[in-house]
């Protein structure tokens, strides 16, 4: 049981990060960025190029990857998504699949992505044993980073005018422009932040998995998407809760049942269960309670 909790937390936090990126973009533009996972992988290649190929410190590679991802996300929004305001949201989602294909091709061509790569960990060391599970310093760091991100996002969205504008844009994009908030900037920010959060997730999970190739973060993305849907797709709190739930269920199922593919089966099961019982996501009740209290 203790092991399930520890491992579930370690993986769940990463799924939460991907889910947060998905929710941010969904709230900002009403669509899903299917390239988000691959942007995470792409960030790994960039970080690898700095750290392993050019022997620079981890932090430089990480910062470069985050900046690149933010620019890529915001740039894609500016160049493509902002011109599709009138378009069906499914068309926008399909456009992001185009970005995904492009990124895979780019990785294969310029980073010789056919070879298996290995990224260094941010902190070296053997780690600590918790309930019989060895928790690495990187895993501890990922928990701290996810907590800091959650706190930072909460502060940004509720305490700053720009953050409130981000929340408002999700509720009524036209009214946001009618009060003078630059919607284009809000939207580009959301896509950039969503992409950067994916890189953060990829950087933290890679040392646990060990190696990466093009398409590496796609599995994380799919689990992140499940987590986002479980959380209601529009709730950032829901994204965190959903990510942790998926993490616990996956690790727990793997422990109880012993057959290949049990993790994915269990995620499908949880997703269907939540969608059938609470179609608007786990957090929907909280929203109503908040309304009633207000």
């Amino acid at each position: 049981m203790g092991q399930v909790l520890v491992l579930g937390l370690v993986y769940g936090v990463i799924y939460s990060l991907f889910a947060v990126g998905i929710v941010l973009v969904y709230r900002g533009s009403g669509t899903i960025n299917f390239a988000q996972g691959e942007i995470g992988t792409f960030g790994l290649f960039v970080a690898w190029w700095f750290t392993t190929a050019h022997h620079l410190p981890w932090i430089i590679g990480a910062v470069a990857a985050l900046v690149m991802a933010a620019a890529l996300g915001a740039g894609f929004e500016w160049a493509i998504v902002s011109h599709m305001v009138e378009a069906n949201r499914v068309s926008v989602a399909v456009a992001t699949i185009g970005l995904l294909a492009f990124l895979v091709a780019f990785e294969v061509r310029f980073f010789e992505g056919g070879n298996i790569r290995k990224m260094v960990a941010p902190i070296r060391g053997t780690g600590w044993s918790v309930f019989g599970v060895v928790v690495s310093p990187t895993q501890i760091l990922s928990l701290l980073a996810a907590g800091a991100l959650a706190a930072g996002l909460a502060l940004l969205l509720k305490k700053t005018d720009f953050g409130l504008g981000v929340l408002a844009a999700a509720q009524d994009p036209v009214a946001v422009r009618l009060v003078g908030i630059p919607l284009a900037r809000v939207s580009a920010f959301v896509w950039g932040l969503g992409a950067a959060v994916s890189v953060l997730g990829a950087l933290f999970i890679e040392p646990t998995i060990g190696v990466f190739t093009p398409g590496f973060a796609s599995e994380m993305f799919i689990k992140g998407l499940a987590a986002a849907v479980v959380g209601g797709l529009t709730s950032l709190e829901g994204a965190f809760v959903g990510g942790l739930l998926i993490g616990f269920v996956e690790v727990g199922a793997n422990r109880v049942f012993d057959f290949p593919g049990v993790k994915m089966f269990s995620i499908l099961f949880v997703m269907l269960l939540v969608l059938l019982v609470k179609p608007d996501g786990l957090m929907e009740g909280f929203k109503f309670r908040r309304r009633a209290l207000a």
Binding site: L164, G165, A168, Q171, R177, L178, V179, G180, I181
Partner: protein, 292 residues
């Protein structure tokens, strides 16, 4: 003669293959309340959206405060001094009243936080109900309270002109009366106003100038006082039904009789009008307006 605050020349706009506005022309002087009237589908709301910058124009020119704003984004137009009370209120439902108002002052707060705070106090004085409910989510307010919030949200940015689109839609008659009084107050405090209103009797009591839209063109522009019933009947096709109310509106501009919005030719306003409306329809209208 001083230049008008807003001048619209040859404005054309539409969606896809459909052209809705075929060269709309009118101007609004500082301190004036301009009412835009017309039947459903005449292009009133599209005109408002093009003026706001959320629907692109396909031709023509919009000049605001001496500046050509035809190509400016909606946000820049707000920065230039436009404020909006959009159709359906469009408050941010999952944000609190205070947060909605804070966003209303988004641009002003970047320049002058103290000024924004004092304007916010002004809004709370004008709408005590918003002060009482400042921590309540806007989506849980009644229709009338949301209308107050939408007006307040436009005023906290200290606009030179506000565009009010169908403020009475979906509100109970008593609430409409209250809103009417508020808008009148706002106008007398020196804010120029462009008003689109389907409830003609309500709109005419508020407006100084009337601009009548027909099939995407302005077919009448002039003082409301100079508008006779005959003309109104001719343009809007509703004169006979409106009878008493419009004549009182045109003559004395007294407080409006509570009256449901006019949809096309179905109008039930004066006592005379009511007799012509079947009982079942009146019940339907009553249900529709009491929901807010």
């Amino acid at each position: 003669m001083t230049e008008p605050l807003l001048a619209v020349e040859g404005l054309r706009a539409g969606f896809g293959a459909t052209t809705v506005l075929h060269g709309v022309e009118f101007s609004v002087n500082e301190g004036e309340i301009a009412g835009i009237f017309g039947l459903n589908g005449a292009g009133k709301s599209v005109t408002m959206k093009v003026l706001a910058g959320v629907v692109p124009s396909r031709g023509g020119r919009i000049t605001f405060a001496g500046q050509d704003i035809t190509r400016l984004s909606a946000e820049k137009r707000v920065a230039a001094g436009m404020g909006h009370v959009p159709q359906g209120r469009q408050v941010f439902p999952d944000l609190t009243v205070a947060e909605n108002l804070r966003l209303g002052a988004y641009l002003l707060r970047r320049k002058d936080k103290a000024r924004a705070a004092s304007l916010l106090d002004g809004v709370f004085d004008r709408f005590p109900v918003l002060a009482e409910r400042r921590d309540q989510l806007a989506g849980t307010l009644s229709g009338g309270q949301q209308a107050s919030l939408a007006v307040g949200r436009a005023l906290v940015n200290e606009p030179r002109m506000i565009f009010v689109d169908e403020p009475s839609a979906g509100l109970a008659p008593l609430v409409v009366q209250e809103l009417f009084a508020t808008l009148k107050q706002v106008a007398t405090s020196g804010v120029t106003m462009v008003l689109v209103e389907q409830n003609v009797s309500f709109g005419l009591q508020l407006a100084d100038k009337a601009h009548i839209l027909q099939m995407g063109r302005i077919v009448y522009s002039g003082e409301v006082g100079a508008l006779d019933q005959q003309a109104l009947a001719g343009y809007l096709g509703i004169g006979r039904m409106l009878g008493g109310v419009t004549s009182s509106a045109l003559a004395g501009r007294r407080a409006p009789s509570p009256s449901p919005a006019i949809n096309g030719s179905a109008a039930a306003t004066s006592a005379e009008g009511e007799d012509r409306v079947p009982r079942s329809q009146r019940r339907r209208q009553a249900r529709a307006t009491s929901g807010s």
